[in-house]
Symmetry: C2
Subunit: 238 residues, 2 copies
Amino acid sequence: MKILAIDTSTAMATVAIADGEKIIAESQFSADRTLSSRLIPEIKRILVIAGWAVADIDLFAASIGPGSFTGVRGGVATMQGLALAAGKPCAGFSSLTLLSMNFSLSSRLVCPMLDARKSEVYAALYDCSTSIPSPVINDCVMPPDSFLDQLRQTTDKQVIFAGEGALRYRDLIAGRMADRAIFAPFPLNPSRAAHGATLALELFESGDCFAPSRLLPVYLRASDAEINRSSKLRAFNP
Amino acid sequence: MKILAIDTSTAMATVAIADGEKIIAESQFSADRTLSSRLIPEIKRILVIAGWAVADIDLFAASIGPGSFTGVRGGVATMQGLALAAGKPCAGFSSLTLLSMNFSLSSRLVCPMLDARKSEVYAALYDCSTSIPSPVINDCVMPPDSFLDQLRQTTDKQVIFAGEGALRYRDLIAGRMADRAIFAPFPLNPSRAAHGATLALELFESGDCFAPSRLLPVYLRASDAEINRSSKLRAFNP
């Protein structure tokens, strides 16, 4: 089974192709404000390495968020288009699940944390002791100190913090968690699409793949555009 | 400090650039028999992502083996050439240390294992509990069952096995280690050059960088060419 997996939910995009349980090529690249011009060329480039055409791909797997609205939307739309053209199914996975897999087989709980702007984080807590992580605290969006309160009520053990949100709020986390916070070595802060291939295989085996039109983003909160529209509607219908 | 790090010791090559403790771009690609035509274009491609020229790189870091003789030699020669042109220093690291870093912060010992052909493996045992792994069994080359004997005498705990050698000798390892062997999830079998940036920074800080001409491969055993030459010399001088 040939898989294309991507994650475009952060400033660091990642693309991978796998043939069953073998990674053929993978890349991570800083894509801040350049994703739309870089994503398709990058997919084409790694397909060339494998000698595959888009039509050869059996499953198109993408991170459906949470993360950058524009990034997630762009990634999902690209995969919908490719999958539709190839006549193949899609699978979606959480960007936070993917990030936590940088610590696969870890005996410590893992907290993937992304910057959600507006003084909030997208965060979760995962048990990564097996190859497919299981959530201990589900993906959520909230101010980092509220999340750390919840985390401290959930476990009194050491926790690994990873991701751009953990970098941004490192001082706050260290202050609240003291020696229970372990920070990821810097190469383990960006996510890897190769782990998306693991998730895609699992989703395929459990029957959780679907038509491209059903691959939909999970933003966890309303976008600015929706908030603005809703407040304008309220102004019209007070 | 701008770093270019590569590992070309296996069939899966990897290239990364980092600006201090921030990965800008990284890639892994199947390079079996195509490394010489792919390595330089790949380095050029990721430099474009960062907007850097070769002259901007401050440190050129490469895996010096063990692994494929041709792969290691090609990678080292490429980095020597680039560093010489840029007038900047080089740093070298073990391909097995690099591979073990796929399990950074692991509380279990990690056994990176590469296929050395001739029914042997390149292998080692590392404590990866901190960001820079420390060797428990040094890098060596021997038949896999001899290595497993040594490993069983060294620890009675669970060990994580990773790398193409662990894939090739999986049945043997499982038979000898029983439930003490834990095998890497498949995306964690190839090495990542991003971890080479961590090693490069550490080598730089400890003063272990040097002129390009001093970046030399560590093969752990003689090449076929050397063995053949030596046996011919013996035939001439019995």
